[in-house]
Amino acid sequence: MRINSLNFFALLLVGVFAIPAFSLFSLALDSEAEVWGHLSSTVLPVYLGNSLILLLGVGIGTLVLGVVSGFLTALYEFPGRRWLEWMLMLPMAMPAYILAMVYLELLDYSGPLQSALRDFFGWKTPSDYWFPEVASIGGAVLMLSLVLYPYVYLLSRNAFQQQSPAFTEAGRILGDRTRYGFWKIALPMARPAVAVGVSLALMETLADFGTVQLFSVPTFTTGIYHLWFGTANAPAAAQLSLSLLGFVGLLIALERFSRKQQRSHGNASSLKRSKRRALPQHYVFLAQAFCVIPVLLGFLLPGWMLLQWSWQSLPGWDSMRFLSDASHSLLLAGVTSFFALALAMLLNFGIRQPKQRLLKGAFRLAGLGYAFPGPVIALGVLMPLSWFDQQLNQWFFDAGNSPNYWLSGTIFILIYAYLIRFLALALGSVESGMANITPAIGDSGRMLGSPQGKIMRDLYLPMLKGSLWTGALLVFVDVMKELPATLMLQPFNVSTLATRAFAYASEEMLKQAAPWCVAIVLTGLLPVILLNRKLRSSAVPQETSHRLMPVSTETHLQPA
């Protein structure tokens, strides 16, 4: 009985997650070859080139920013180290598209910086001086690197901290000086963790839509968006989606491979951390500057600007519009987190039952959703749901009544898309909580006379409380920040904080967008605070850090 219902649930879930992927495939393969030929001869090389440049640039940017700051804060003591350690995480709270909006405004011809320069030097026209164009691929690389380096920073800092001091000590006894210690011992040992961090950052880069759209850098995500909105060419958009997924697949393979290496790179079995050494005096300023700059550019400066612009735009502030957008965001985020947690609990309990191969498969499939960029998921859910609506309309209203968008025109479709994309976060959180509960706990409860329901209430729920809140928070915040899928799927008259801010920005009304952005960044700060608290309080810091990372896919991506 029980097992059958679980299997049914598993099949249902597989269906829910597989239908969008399946519809993408059939859409892409079904169409005439001409579309593909046209694509590959025109826009595809451009997308491909831009994506490669972005990947390369962001890869190098996050690597340098993340590894060096992680190395310095993990192994050295210098004034300000304790502050910088957590402040380096702050840019995680800043969605790349908001950073892009701020710098567009800030570095614009009429923006404060250029105006100040002109006043100071007495320049009159743009031809009097050269100023770098922020709305360029280089600008996009910079923006994305500034918000994505914390992935690399967190993972590499942990890796450096976990390395048993014995290794570096052994190196020093053998005559290594610090420099060589870094290149020959510390860095090679941290390499798998760094690779995981970089591959996560690159996945986010591929999924980014807002930044490249604002900076007019054509990539796969913007291509899908324009093909869909501009030409309603679904087959072409589907084909672009599949090409993008190919890229993502490569990155997943890289991430998976690195995680395996990470496990085999014998992290110190003891919890003994490397003791921090004092940084030589003449390096202190350099180290401080290196760590302060990404925090300053990635969070403090844009945060300050947003607050200032919000203040300036206050007189003409459309508070009703803000409240309506905020309530939509809160509703969507709340409902999605609730369903994501419920599903995550069911799945996690399900796979603990014996003989649940099918469910385990569904579990891993559900975890993959996070790797799919927003526009791809949007396209994937839009097709089957609108087909469903059409069928329903034909069936109900073949007399010619007005058709209705039952599913595709309501917030249902948004929640569906969010669930596919963000369920992995809830699954990961609940899973890591469950990992701390041995099966013997449940067995003990039963042996002491409690039926399953009572065990769930008395034992599992209180023990999972922390993980459930974490999971809910992660999903909540990611839904609040989500942009491309929401743009593509939002029903008429439903706008969220993110889409409104983006709409303002697209109309070059960046200052008006500031209050919306502040609200998003403030919610984005919550998981950063939580992550920081966990890292500080936990006796086993290496366990929690990448579990709390927005992509905690390590277990879902692993073959069981």
């Binding site: 067995d443 042996m447 002491l448």
Partner: protein, 366 residues
Amino acid sequence: MTTKNESPLIHCEGLSKAYESIEAVTGVGFELEESESASILGPSGCGKSTLLRLIAGLENPDRGTVSLFGSEISSPRRMLPPEKRRFGMVFQDFALFPHMSVSANIAYGVRGSKAEKQSRVAELLELINLPHLAGQMPHQLSGGEQQRVAVARSLAPRPRLILLDEPFSNLDYQLRVQLRRDIRDLLRQQGVASLLVTHDQNEAITFSERMLLMNGGMLIQNGNPSEIYRYPKTLWAARFVGEANLLEVHHTDGDNRTPLGILNFAKGSTGNAVTVMIRPEELHLLPPDKDMTGGSIVSIEFAGPVQNLTVRLDSGEELRVSTSPKRIWTEGESVSVVPEHFQCYDASGQRLDDEASLNPVSSSSS
């Protein structure tokens, strides 16, 4: 054994359980009387924990039954859920509920009013000598204290049977020996039947009156520890429960020849015997004598209450011999070796049920 009119506490018959085509337990049957303590001994992966979980009701059998006082509680068709069996269980990692205090842990399984719960908890805390820890959380306790609390928690609902799944293996040696005694005494004093799963033969011998020896999912031997030690049913059992000297039997001229002499069977068993097994303490060393099997001492290990010697026979075989430490031996010393108690096994490793004697062949005659 005296036959009882009443049904035993636990009666297992033909119990079998497979996980994904791997047979974990195959056709196991045995009985456990009220307030009897038994242990299931076997190497890791022999199915002993599965057997325990089958009895607990945490797994359901593919074949066979478990009965409680004669009424069936587990069968492939019907299961009495574990929460209704009134058995206690102590797990390897103790499985204390981390979000509950020590007293809340102990009280968890107790039914009744608040006052009843409180008095039962106080009683058990007294019993395990930890009344001062009532308000502590599990993570504040030492391993030994957690273990005691786990036992108290399983005893609290007054179970008929306590199942212990390798409960001492997470503790260090000193503590393990101490706790083993304490908990055995506690269970005896409470008159609760117990079934202990362990891979450590010392643990099995000191903890319980009866041993169920398992290997490869099957019950090899069921008896009291000394019986199993002295009369192991198979060669595997002989080696598993202690040190064993194994000697090959050669059949020449109608004789069963071994390095220690010629085997003579009381019932005249034929040439079935292939191996002779002798425990190290069943070999006696005497001054060299022509009419006995000769050898010399190769190495000496002094181990406190005993001395473990390696003796090389003149025919080349090496034997382990345990002697009292009172007599001082020297390496290279010549001795003669006299076996006292031994068992014979056939080609399939089964013990031959026939009394035999070993008659030394005098070294002069060969």
